[in-house]
Assembly symmetry: C2
């Protein structure tokens, strides 16, 4: 057996398990892994020098495959040493956002750790609790048991990454020299043993189901709140029917992908403001709260659901291994797929209503209260952004959101862009799939993630990103793969603007130096260096001009830099908050 | 007690323990820590947006303080979430290079972990074995025991970081709101309880010492090999005396800071080449090998010492807690300071020789063999680099090394620059202090480390760095602190040139795409964006011209970009290897 055959087999097993994309960062220790995937006829391998960016590009690829409805893990290969640690930010994001990644980290054999040899750190289990499991392969393959261990471990790891909850798995691969095949030595992609894991569905027994239905019927005010979920039109359709026919308010933030139609509640960050009146909020309190999805974005919504807790709170999530009690009111975990649950819920209740001869949609004062608040909040926001008002970053976000082409993908970087976009909302008829790194909510890889997503779809991928996040991650554009379907909207206000927008730091004398931390760069040179299109705008008219052909297809990616004045932005935002207080505030 | 008082006390304790420098990355969760250090009248706080760069800038500061002879930890503050993981590459380097850092990571209180709240990951113990110890402070301070725990833990952490072996410590700081003081609330830096840790020296008992001396006397061929050590003229002086008076060869690579004089062996990477003849190498084999310092750089030296192991190998290192057996020949760990050990060794042996009436330096064929090989290798290198030969990156390194001003600091980035510089060597009369990140030998933070070092000294700090390492870490220049005493020499060969220089990848058809990975950027725009001086050279004459005033003091940092042709470099390097084979090769 050629010395590298177990590594060659590993590449074949990746392919057999449905993996098609591999991101590689160059290295010598990792050369056997690199060559094994590079020479594989079916694997698509891309080379990214900066491992931090490589990790997030892989994450973006895998994230978009979920949106495409074809979830499968993306593999990452890096060399030994601190290279591995540079993947860690993306690994943490993947863990909490439930994105499947397979981390193949080359290592020195165990006996060389802490022997002052180069690029050798403590790699076994290095990602701690931020991977679903960590495997440490043997460095010696001569014993058949060692080869059996590699074979079954890699099978298990690849199965695990793709099982709900999806997530990253780590396979640490200690390698001895020689790393390179001899002249004339060819890799043979032999048949490998594939251990399949049969999928099961998690269904609710009839007895449990009837109990749930009777509790549902017994609750007066029912509220459905949807956390972050990948774009999923079928689920949206079911939730819409529930809201319409059964008169249940469905609250979704922009990252829930339950967008604005006549029903859904999308303006909650405005009308659930902390300045809202207690009576008003009390009237919105649910008896029974149903949630699904991952994290919620806005503090206002979270605070409301904690301060006015439901008597019963059911959370529907496919995995049963953890209790996520974000609103401190959880009473029941329903470990099943939300589409199955809500689909069955609607079907059964609709059938009951049919049996009872009820044909008109239910009416419900509670739903009307939520919808009324939502409409008033939406109107307030549109007034805030109207052309007669000073031009702000928020207004720019609304203008560009309106122009994003239908049936495309929108990435919202953390810090202000995702918040502004959430305050605006997206029209359901735009059919836009929204993604955001809300697993850890870091700014560290938002640009790389969007690059990765654009590599996984032919649709246009638009990223809204602030200047600090953009430059932090500008190595995302330092590779030869930046695809033509990427559109970057860079909101440049010369610093960490969010600190000026929130109450605490804005009042400190340290605001500018220690929080906002002004930065002078513009995206022009970065765009030029990356060989992508560039345009900029300094106001409403310029923005409209720039947008005229920004989204048209072209042969290369484009960056639109939107300059605004941070003080104007802050003043306008304060005025918005004052209006919220007048409209929804207590006595 | 104001709610933030324990955090304010923490800042005061940093100061009381001798810490003066704090690197902060902006964040809201970390605001109490940021404000506590920013408002402290004696702490010097710098704000760096990219945590990965922040970590390495702190490392460079702390590293340079060791070179300055005043080691003290540098503190780092970052916010919760993936921000923390971005510090990890610098933490691993600090651990293995033994650089004191204090990592203060803001966190959500424990109960919010895995509750889908923003910027919340598993932070307790996140750096694994890459810190000397990890502390997880309580989030609630109301009970006096909790305040006592914070007080003694922080005392212990700060002591530990500064004790040999120096290294990073992690203090995880869960924080509850409010993060910001109320209007009119002032911070009071009250006296805090300081728990001193008295320093002890580790000396050898007389009996042990006499045993060592008798073993020393009994060994025919004695060899001293010095691994990476900070610049330390007193140790160099002692080793020089030992070499001179006692006729013992002292082998030092460039990172050992034992530079070229008439005695030291600095060309070992050339004459210990794997192609060298067995008889020749056998004659260089030591009976007794003494080593001190951290890692060795060149594979040739390491392979020689493993293949021709000493009968006895003593390693002198201050810490007793680990056996580093890099050459697989260790027989004795001597846990004491190398300066103490070699100073006492020389003094005792010199006194014995005085008593025995020996006044002339000893003569020793073994020493002469090493010195002869060193001289021949040095001559070969100089021939390779002479002006009649094609201009290469290596020749550029030699030219610039000759021009680096005396009594300055030289940083050598990983991959080719540190290897080229080691092949050249540095003249002892230049009094240049060499630093390099050889703890993990990553390319990931070399530029940031040099920026940090330049902040800690008034001397000129010159960095030699390749293009991949430079752009990987270009956020090092994305801050307002890049000091005027920094000189960056960027060797741009448009990719990971090292893979073309080593045998394995150079022979693979995947070389250019999957290893070298061509990159098109030049440093000009990065320099312009950072507001630092820029010049470039494409050949010998242009380089000489550019060097004319590159090192003169000025009001801002400067970058010199040296372009070379990777194919010319590779060909010349192959010719050098052929010459080595002719000169030192076996039959």
């Amino acid at each position: 057996m050629p010395i590298l055959q177990p590594i060659v087999n590993l590449a074949e097993l990746l392919y057999q398990k449905g993996i098609t994309d591999v991101i590689v960062s160059p290295g010598s220790r990792s050369a056997p892994l690199t060559l094994a995937v590079a020479r594989h006829p079916k694997l698509r391998v891309r080379v990214i020098a900066d491992e931090r960016s490589a990790g997030f590009i892989a994450l973006g690829l895998a994230q978009q495959r979920i949106v495409n409805g074809q979830p499968k893990p993306v593999a990452i290969i890096c060399t030994s040493g601190s290279a591995v640690y540079n993947l860690a930010p993306a690994v943490a994001e993947a863990y909490f956002q439930e994105i499947p990644l397979v981390l193949l980290t080359a290592d020195r054999p165990r006996e060389w750790v802490q022997q002052q040899d180069g690029q050798t750190i403590f790699q076994a289990g290095i990602f701690g609790s931020h991977v679903k499991r960590s495997y440490d392969l043997p460095a010696d393959y001569s014993h058949p048991d060692a080869r059996w261990y590699i074979e079954r471990s890699v099978n298990e790891a690849l199965n695990l990454s793709g099982l709900t909850p999806l997530g990253p798995v780590h396979i640490n691969v200690p390698l001895r020299e020689p790393f390179y095949p001899k002249e004339g030595e060819h890799f043979r992609y032999e048949p490998v043993r594939v251990i399949d894991q049969v999928l099961v569905t998690q269904e609710l027994p009839a007895e449990t189901w009837h109990q749930l239905l009777s509790e549902w019927e017994g609750a007066e005010r029912k509220l459905i709140a949807v956390g972050q979920l990948p774009y999923h039109p079928k689920l949206t359709e079911v939730l819409q029917k529930i809201s319409e026919e059964l008169a249940v308010p469905v609250v979704g933030e922009i990252i829930s992908n339950q967008h604005q139609n006549q029903l859904f509640i999308t303006q909650s960050d405005t009308f659930l403001s902390s300045v809202a009146g207690e009576d008003f909020l009390e009237e919105l309190r649910p008896d029974l709260l149903l949630t699904c999805g991952q994290s919620f974005l806005a503090r206002n919504l979270k605070t409301f659901l904690r301060k006015y807790p439901a008597r019963q709170h059911w959370h529907i999530q496919p995995s049963a291994d953890r209790l996520v009690d974000s609103f401190q009111s959880l009473t029941k975990l329903i470990p099943t797929d939300p589409l199955y649950f809500f689909g069955k819920l609607f079907a059964d209740l609709d059938y009951q209503r049919f049996l009872q001869g009820e044909e008109e949609p239910e009416e419900n004062e509670y739903l009307e209260r939520w919808q009324m608040a939502d409409r008033r909040a939406g109107k307030l926001v549109q007034e805030t952004l109207q052309p007669a008002e000073p031009f702000t970053e928020w207004a720019a976000v609304q203008t560009i959101l309106d122009a994003v082409p239908p049936h495309s993908v929108l990435h919202l970087a953390n810090s202000m862009p995702v918040r502004y976009a959430n305050l605006c909302g997206i029209r359901a008829d735009q059919h836009i799939a929204v993604s955001a790194n809300r697993g850890t909510s870091g700014i560290d890889g938002c640009l790389s993630t969007a690059v990765g997503a654009a590599l996984a779809t032919d649709q246009l991928v638009t990223l809204f990103i602030g200047d600090v996040a953009f430059f932090y991650d500008r190595n995302a554009l330092w590779n030869s793969y930046v695809p033509a379907n990427l559109r970057i909207v860079l909101f440049n206000n010369q610093g960490g603007h969010i600190f000026r927008m929130i109450d605490g730091p804005a009042q400190q004398p340290e605001l500018e130096t220690y929080f906002e931390t002004e930065q002078p760069l513009t995206g022009r040179t970065t765009a030029e260096e990356a060989g992508i299109g560039y345009r900029s705008s300094h106001g409403r008219a310029e923005l409209q001009l720039a947008l005229a052909d920004f989204f048209t297809p072209g042969s290369k990616a484009r960056l639109l830099e939107v300059f605004t004045d941070k003080r104007v932005n802050a003043t306008a935002f304060q005025q918005y908050k004052d209006k919220v207080k007048r409209l929804f505030g207590g006595v």
